[in-house]
């Protein structure tokens, strides 16, 4: 058998204070970054929100011969867009991302263009693309609709992607995402409380919050862009973190029925140690896969990969450092959880004992 760990007995719960301190330190850094950026006049915002959540337009343009960023910037400036972000695509040399902030509510930065006489208003969604196109037209013709840039000899560039979100839709997407996630967490809370105990439910959900907040702290400190794909990643890491917590809680529940009288403190340590090799294998695989995504995933998935990267670490860590200590601490206040005995579908409890009996014969974990 190829094994990573055979017998380990680490007093994880004894490490809870330095671990929680570490978490708090990172969270404080994130909080300071967010508040600091928010109150600094003229500085960046707490989060580098993508157009999905604050409105704006992102144009992906493919060039035959990519102009220098400064050239694009001055072409945009000529159209009245002074605060565009121009980002060269790392993985595709001929593409460039042009991010234009909201026009509305910033009267003086809005391009001086008469409102269309048509039935639609000149909103962000219409103006964003049109204005960028006007600026890019100074470099040459855009490829005709339906043709690829390579097939249209006379064209010099092509807009291959547009993401344009008005301020109302942006706020709506943001609120809907937050509400859906919070309701999802409530569902998790209730289910774990039903299957295990309120103390475990609280531990798991607080750990999830911890993971999301830590990830967001990284996003604020490093000003990584928060887009809809980051949201998908946060949802993924919520699932991942809860999954990890439940695996350990399940083991604790089993050990409680096997070793009556043993303190919850040492039972928790035992459970973490017994499942450690699963934790390493599964989370290690996830971590490596995500690392590959960060390195090779490309510009579009950057936010997604980074969020998962941070999340795959904190998701594992929070089970040990946050979820379990909270459950123990709370049970210390209100008395031990009366977890339901989970009968095995086919075998009796006598057989079940086998797995964990060994841990009793091992060196008992002491404080």
């Amino acid at each position: 058998m190829l094994e990573i760990f055979k017998n380990i007995s680490v007093d994880w719960m004894g490490l809870r204070k330095p671990l929680i301190f570490l978490s708090i330190a990172i969270l404080m850094a994130g909080l300071l970054s967010a508040i600091g950026r928010q109150v600094t006049p003229g500085g960046t915002d707490a989060f580098n929100l993508g157009v999905d959540f604050q409105g704006g337009t992102v144009i992906t343009a493919k060039f035959r011969n990519k102009p220098a960023e400064d050239e694009i910037r001055s072409a945009l400036q000529a159209q009245g867009i002074s605060d565009a972000v121009i980002q060269a695509s790392l993985d595709k040399q001929d593409e460039v991302l042009i991010k234009v902030p909201l026009f509305e509510g910033k009267g003086d930065t809005a391009p001086a263009e008469a409102p269309q006489a048509g039935g639609e208003d000149a909103t962000q969604v219409n103006l964003g693309r049109a204005t960028v196109k006007k600026a890019l037209d100074t470099f040459g013709k855009e490829a005709e609709a339906g043709k690829r840039l390579a097939d249209d000899e006379s064209a010099i560039y092509q807009i291959v992607g547009t993401d344009s979100v008005g301020p109302v839709a942006g706020a709506q997407l943001r609120n809907q995402a937050v509400i859906a996630t919070l309701l999802g967490l409530l569902g998790i809370l209730l289910f774990i409380a039903f299957r295990y105990d309120w103390t475990y439910a609280a531990g798991a959900v607080i750990a999830v919050f911890h993971d999301v907040l830590i990830t967001l702290a990284f996003f604020s400190v490093f000003q990584w862009e928060v887009s809809l794909t980051v949201l998908a990643a946060l949802l993924t890491l919520v699932g991942f973190s809860v999954n990890d917590s439940i695996v350990i809680f399940d083991r604790i529940r089993e050990n409680i029925t096997l070793h009556r009288g043993k303190s919850i403190y040492s039972l928790t340590n035992d459970s973490i140690n017994q499942t450690m090799s699963r934790t390493i294998v599964t989370n290690g695989l996830v971590f490596l896969a995500v690392l590959a995504l960060v390195l090779f995933g490309g510009e579009v998935l950057r936010g997604f990969s980074l969020a998962l990267f941070v999340g795959s670490i904190t998701g594992t860590y929070s089970t040990i450092a946050i979820a379990s200590p909270i459950a123990i601490w709370w049970q210390g206040k209100i008395g031990n959880a009366k977890v339901k005995e989970v009968a095995l579908p086919q075998s009796g409890t006598e057989k079940m004992a086998s797995a964990s009996r060994r841990s009793v014969t091992r060196r008992p974990v002491t404080r």
Partner: protein, 563 residues
Amino acid sequence: MKNKGLWIRTFIILAITIAGIYLVFGPRRTPVASDFSWSGIKANLAENINLGLDLKGGSHLVMRVKTDDYLKTLTENNGQAALTTAQDAKLPATAYTIKAENGNYSVNLTLSDPSQQQAVLDEVKKKVDFSAWTQTTSGNDIVWSLPNQAQELMKRQAVDQALKIIESRINAFGVKEPTLQKHGAETSGQILLQMPGVDDPERVKKLIGAESNLSLAKIVSPPNPSPVQTYPTREAALQSIGGAETQTRKVYPYADRDEPSAAGTAKTDPAAKVNKYVVVEYPSVVDGSELREANAVSRTGSEGDYQISFSFKPAGAQKFGEWTGKNINNYMAVVLNGEVKSAAFIKSQIFDSGEISGKFTKTSAEDLALTLKSGALPAKIEYQEERTVGPSLGADSIKAGVEAALGGLAFVIVFMLIYYRGSGVNAVIALLLNMLLTMAALIVIKSTLTLPGIAGLILGVGMAVDSNVLIFERIREELRAGRSIADSISLGFDRAFITIIDTHITTIISSTILYLYGSGPIRGFAVTLVLGLLINLFSAVFVSRTIFMWLLHRNPKMEKISI
């Protein structure tokens, strides 16, 4: 006994696997030989899986019907109509005021003689539709206000109507397989339009949002043979009617479209071309609602020389005929969306057809004819969200996604085979089966696969790996505890199953909530994740266990197991 159970399990697995392979790779018709070739399988796969716009390219638009504007116009029109009706009946109505803001819509009609109140009410009831409004009277005033419930209903109707009109416009435009539906909360007035394969939605956007307020009205001008009376500036035109527009005299710009805009782009800038203004008499003779047909026609066949011919419904034709008969040699304006498109004198009585001249390009003439035919939108629409992915960008993302997924899968497979050796084969079979069946399930429920959906798929595969790891680690523990191989496998599966079911149910619960309360991209994630997890209970637990059962069946006294 046990043997029989094993055969049943095997049969179930084979049946489901074959069904899955057929759903994913098989054609939806009688198979032919080419369906078994590599390219045939690929073609079937591409046909069966419904890719989202972000992967295959296309345009995703969220628009909002300005329902507040709709109610405001309705209030204004009803106020105007009530006053006119009363005055036409020689009743003492002097003025009306309207309120149309912050969700309050009301019309206040002022009378100079309160004793005639009932007569006014009776008359107005006959001509103006105030049925949904609450009516209150006090002295000289009659107030109609629109209750909230009626507001909601009317807004909904406006959105429904807009939806129908937009549908007829995009259908006429020839967008393939569009998705058009209400979006967001019931009262949001939002409409979602998805158009696969459209990478430049500008023309469609213009077309959908285009107003088509057409009216034919008399121009205030000396009759032919004098030229039509125009004014060089708006001010001069206003001067001629006493300084301001009245209810019967309106000033419109008169655009000469000498220079057509480039084909396809339809990016005319109306303000730049206006060089004259005319005064038009209101109410108009006929308006767009009387139209029966509208077509783009070319006199010469050359690009940039298109006109729009239209014909009226019988009632409109009647009105138009009467009016033209009385107004020979007078000038008539074709007013479209607040702009005079053409001005011509009446040569003879015309009944049922007319023409909007003014050198349109083929594209703009066709689009205009289309909007005229489909009718006017109940209110303006605004675009709130646009996401367009060119087909090449979509193909790039799918390539990147598939490559990342396959790379990750290959890595996981190699690791499982090295770390768990023989038993790793179980895990690999379970993983592949999981992916196959998740795809098949997506096809069965006709769900589209999007980029967030791929994220859900990957998390699902991750949890499938985790299930196998949990089971194998548990079996190893039991083996270390000195149990027999058969007992260890049985115990390992049974015990790990409790963990697996808890983790899966938790994630299924939260994903279901995400699906119910989330929007587009979140839903795509939730759907594939839930499917992946449900299937995982089958592939990782049932299938993997059956394989172990086969091993034990063939060698009941097994003393070594490769795990």
